[in-house]
């Protein structure tokens, strides 16, 4: 087996890299793929929290690099899905604790046994970013329809293009708010795609469910009724090579607008 190593990156912090990593990883595992999630944000680890695995971590990626344990010992199995495991970041160390070479070696090793190795990249374009992309051959650039996030994504794309090992990168547009786009208060999906001229792999609507799912340590893809969960599932399917159309957020927002329509219909009749 030779797995695919995909780095999830953004440049700007807080756009949803870790949420995206957790959800795509979970979705791929739910689809029967063997997945490892690697948290490379040394000193600021969070992927364990999003997966609800914070109490199960014994060894971290730094322990593996410094040979205090074997790679397999450091992989923490997900509670719900045996196909998914996490290689956690060390919380007490900084980005210099591992090198690009070491991360590359870890990815090579994991490729033998897993279908997907998803690398959750720290914010910024310094060493942490360089480490995270070292072992990857594909990238997902997470951005939101905000100026600062798009600008940083553009910078990241420039850096990814300069990196020979990265064969392809795709754009994931997160926290999209259809009603703000409709009122011309937010850049549309088309605007962002045009500005960055990159291929899309997913459009994720803003969803308050993300907050509750993070609080519970249960990725939103496990909630089949959630819109963002569905969108993340679609991303996973696209990564696996399926041709999944982008969902119409306007339409899916439906329930509320349908209720509104229903009521406005009633009022209309009364008159």
């Amino acid at each position: 087996m030779s797995g695919r190593v995909i780095v999830i990156t953004s440049g700007k912090g807080g756009v949803g890299k870790t949420t995206t990593s957790a959800n795509i990883g979970t979705a791929l595992a739910r689809a029967g793929k063997k997945v490892v999630l690697i948290d490379t944000d040394l000193g600021l680890r969070n992927l364990d929290l999003l997966l609800g695995l914070e109490n199960r971590i014994v060894y971290t990626i730094v322990d593996v690099v410094e040979e205090r344990c074997k790679l397999k010992q450091a992989l923490v199995k997900d509670k719900k899905n045996p196909n998914l495991c996490l290689l956690a970041a060390a919380q007490t160390r900084d980005k210099s604790a591992i090198t690009q070479e070491q991360l590359k070696d870890i990815c090579e090793e994991l490729k033998k046994d897993y279908d997907f190795i998803l690398v959750d990249c720290p914010a910024g374009i310094e060493q942490g970013f360089q480490n995270a992309i070292a072992g990857a051959s594909e990238a997902i650039v997470v951005t939101t329809p905000e100026m600062s996030a798009v600008r940083d994504a553009d910078r990241i794309i420039g850096l990814l293009e300069a990196k020979e090992e990265i064969q392809s990168y795709k754009l994931l547009l997160n926290r999209v708010r259809p009603n703000l786009i409709k009122s011309n208060d937010m850049m549309s999906v088309e605007d962002v795609v045009e500005i960055l001229s990159a291929d899309l792999v997913g459009i994720i609507p803003e969803d308050t469910g993300i907050i509750t799912s993070t609080n519970k340590g249960d990725p939103i893809v496990n909630d089949d009724s959630s819109l963002a969960g569905k969108a993340y599932n679609n991303v996973a399917r696209r990564i696996m090579g399926e041709d999944v159309p982008f969902m119409n957020l306007e339409e899916d927002r439906g329930v509320i607008s349908k209720v509104k329509k229903f009521f406005s219909g009633l009022i209309g009749k009364e008159k």
Binding site: M147, M186, M187, D191, I195
Partner: protein, 156 residues
């Protein structure tokens, strides 16, 4: 009474006109982003822009007298293309004698400091982009000329 109505009409009409003209937040974001990305991608930093501005003033001063502080040099979105817009408030066009003397003074200067020119050559890479939009610059220039004094200059 009539005044009140007229006033009201103007206000209402003015409001609608303003609403029409005003760019929405999305367009503002797209336009600002395009400009900033243009700068990011070409490495044309504000310092370089400032340098370019200075050199343009120097060059154009040979031919026209202008309000140097009000000269504007900016990137603007023109359809799909990025244009470098130069707006020069012209005070007075110089006559030929003045231009002649300026030019001869200038050639003396050039002989005096050849080193500086070498330094400029290093930056020539980033200024290349601006050459392509030189047309826009000219358009803008003539625009300002029209709006300002001295039509004498147009004959040249």
């Amino acid at each position: 009474m009539r005044d009140i109505f007229q006033d009201l009409f103007n206000k209402v009409f003015g409001f609608f006109r303003q609403a029409e003209k005003e760019e929405n937040a999305k367009d503002t974001a797209v336009n600002r982003l395009r400009v900033v990305l243009m700068q990011d991608r070409t490495n044309l930093t504000p310092e370089l822009l400032e340098k370019m501005r200075g050199e343009l003033i120097e060059l154009l001063s040979k031919y026209v007298e202008m309000d140097k502080d009000a000269l504007e040099l900016n990137f603007e979105q023109e359809g799909n293309q990025m244009a470098l817009m130069l707006s020069i408030p012209v005070l007075r066009a110089k006559d030929e004698d003045e231009i002649e003397t300026e030019n001869s003074e200038d050639s003396d200067e050039a002989e005096e400091k050849p080193e500086e020119e070498n330094l400029d050559a290093e930056n020539s890479e980033s200024t290349e982009d601006t050459e392509s939009s030189a047309e826009d610059t000219q358009d803008e220039e003539s625009e300002t000329k029209e709006s300002n004094t001295n039509s004498k200059d147009k004959s040249k």
